[in-house]
Symmetry: C2
Subunit: 161 residues, 2 copies
DNA sequence: GAACAATATGTTATAACATAACGTTTTTTG
DNA sequence: CAAAAAACGTTATGTTATAACATATTGTTC
């Protein structure tokens, strides 16, 4: 058995994060233009702040950062941008943390499964069809029609083990 | 394949909920006395309010109800009771709803998987080892050591389909 | 059962997370 | 360009949760 799809693996500490951001931005531009959506200045700024690390980022932390460049930013500024990014599939929300993280593969909408390191805060994203299918199947056994799935696994990442 | 363990199934609308509550209370008494913990008056009241339906209940709704019997109740009153009930395993928190629901089997701590009906709000609890094991295994493939799992499936329950 | 320790609750204030409502600006489209 | 649509600004407030410290209750030891 193998993990079919790892969208964002755990990175070592020396990885070049600038290139992560750059690549994510390119993907975002592509996804938006394909969908006919506008990646405005604010949305891009919020997107870059979400991507500032591989750990989830909180809305009010984004706001504080954003404030440096845009003194008029207020909570709705950030939440609107996040809602947009979520709707296009460029970021995910980690429910158990009230925080947001960049999506590893915005090229197509998907259900992500998240691995959250309780030591360093890093998050990896899987997209294992095996899990998706099993959950759907087990739910079906109870007569339940699945629309959406939320999987967040907490533990220790390879570096912190 | 079958669902190995359904802790709380979806109930029909005519089911006798009084008996659900009664049975849950008996379980709670047993679990507390076994663990050497005290199910105080406030904790019992909060527990009963959580069990007032098979849909998740919000902390401030509990507070409003509690207030009728106990005018001095404040947010910490409720959150402390909920924290206690969570720690003993008598209730679960539904992360995607910021809400709380009675546990279907407090006799032993467990990881629950929740089915949330988007139409009627009802929640069923599964405890499928197959899911737990698969998630652990897939995480392990990435060098991740699982401590805890969160699974919340959204969709339509049998009655609402 | 008095003294002490531990646990539980009361109380006030505030932190943290999120949205409603309405006005203004910018962009797109015919 | 004018009208419509989309994005953003602004103010206020709703919702969820905890910090910090005081008081009360319960359990334990002698």
């Amino acid at each position: 058995m193998s993990v079919e799809s790892v969208l964002i693996p755990f990175k070592n500490q020396q990885h070049n994060h600038e290139s992560c951001i750059k690549s994510a931005l390119a993907d975002a531009e592509a996804a938006c233009s394909k969908a006919g959506m506008r990646l405005t200045k604010i949305r891009r700024q919020v997107f870059e702040l979400v991507w500032s690390s591989h750990a989830p980022v909180k809305a009010y932390d984004i706001l504080a950062q954003l404030h440096q460049e845009n003194p008029r930013a207020a909570p709705p500024t950030v939440y609107r941008a996040l809602d947009f990014l979520l709707s296009v599939g460029l970021v995910h929300r980690i429910e158990s943390l009230n925080a947001y993280i960049g999506c590893g593969d915005p090229s197509q909408p998907h259900i992500g499964q998240f691995l959250i390191c309780e030591a360093c805060g890093a998050v990896a994203e899987m997209n294992a069809q095996k899990i998706t299918r099993l959950l759907r199947k087990q739910a079906e056994q109870l007569g339940f029609k699945t629309v959406n799935q939320l999987v967040e696994i907490r533990g220790l990442c390879p570096q912190c083990t």
